[in-house]
Symmetry: C2
Subunit: 254 residues, 2 copies
């Protein structure tokens, strides 16, 4: 679109704002965007709240956001958002001073990071139903989870740069065989380690992941980057020199 | 909208996805949302990258996102996003066990948190131009910055609950008089402290804010909540029992 046309549209939008009065009265009068119904606004803002770790500890997505989340997950935005994140990760990785001793590692989550459970969530309301460990475990055993395309691309580029890859999974040790098969089928052909949760551990993922990363650093690894879909992957201790947050509006892991 | 209609629309969307094949081939074929042009997608995803601290260290918004950011800042989404954040903050605050000794504090940033510089940024391309300390300082001296409406509402509710308010500003000590006047005019009538940056400090805001919060805790304050617009307000040390991140796609402070 020509720049003049953009400015014309912007001017039209701003003309409605009457910002001069707003300043005089020390108040902001927000515009109502045309074409946004309340539902769209609320679900988009709910998603903002989730993305930014403002809304925490939720068990299901709001009922009224099923359509919104479904459209997001299957649409252009999820792909574009993932692209922005993995592009930043690659730009950072390119400038990272690897020592070349095989100890520079990059951590990937599995679910909604390396792998996508979209085929499962497509049949389970995109997070509108509470987490069902039985049916999710059955889905894992099918070994059908595809790669998140942008993550696979980042993985390949990181390998080319010389990073070792460590998958730090929220799945449990007894799912190792299925998850490792799934990773291979999806295109993740090599790795330094895949780390799984002890089947008896029911504490916060944040503590489990922090403890595992601490063990890695104690073993001499340097965590250059860490990419996850949950804030519990990225906060906590030993998080890595830089962290990257992929979108996931379908479920929350504390 | 009736639920059946929602499902009909979703089914229509999903029919295009041909997800069965996607599963078989272990690939995800994302839909292209109709009506999204590439520019819209990119600026929305750029904003996602900024909101989530994936894109850091930027000096200006992308040229092509001026219209997008302008429309966001003046439109329903900014208002709704701010509402979601301050609502979560209030829900948390209501459940917080105050000790009633006047030491339970809540930290607010000033710019784009308590106060809005939208009247300034409206005339300066919503962040498309590099930060100009001279004209921004002149703007501060006008004392015309309005309150961010949702923040003012949260402030009043927190006072009612018995919290003391501390403003931790990125502005400098020689701007104290103008900023305190602006806060009062905008409706913030009382506070425990307003903390300003030493005019000689040019290090990261994150370190300055961490150090000031540490001093507060050493003085016996308990930081129940901390609301900011920059991740540098919320990461670092002594961040508070919970942190809340308001949107700001106009500028970045490290």
């Amino acid at each position: 679109m020509p720049k003049m046309l953009l400015y014309f549209i912007l001017a039209t939008v701003l003309a409605q704002a009457d910002f001069g009065d707003a300043v005089k009265n020390n108040k902001i009068y927000f515009l109502r965007s045309r074409g946004d119904n309340g539902e769209w606004c609320y679900c988009s803002s709910w998603q903002y709240g989730v993305d930014t770790n403002n809304i925490i500890g939720w068990k299901t997505i709001p009922d009224e956001c099923e359509l919104h989340v479904g459209r997001y997950m299957l649409g252009a935005r999820y792909r574009e958002d993932s692209k922005v994140v993995t592009k930043e990760a690659y730009l950072y990785a390119k400038s990272y001073p690897l020592l070349g001793d095989g100890k520079d590692v990059w951590i990937f989550g599995t679910d909604e990071v390396a792998l996508s459970n979209l085929p499962y969530y497509l049949k389970h309301g995109f997070g509108v139903k509470p987490y069902d460990s039985t049916s999710f475990h059955e889905w894992i055993l099918t070994e059908n989870a595809p790669a998140l395309p942008k993550s696979l691309k980042l993985y390949k580029r990181l390998l080319s740069l010389g990073f070792k890859i460590i998958f730090l999974s929220g799945r449990r040790e007894y799912e190792r065989s299925a998850v490792e098969n799934t990773l291979k089928i999806a295109g993740y052909r090599t790795w330094e380690q895949v780390i799984f949760k002890d089947p008896g551990y029911y504490g916060p993922a944040r503590d489990y992941k922090s403890a595992e990363r601490k063990k890695l650093e104690e073993a001499g690894y340097r965590i250059a980057g860490n990419i996850g879909d949950q804030w519990s992957d990225l906060l906590g201790t030993n998080a890595g020199s830089r962290t990257f947050k992929l979108p996931n509006p379908m479920y929350y892991v504390s």
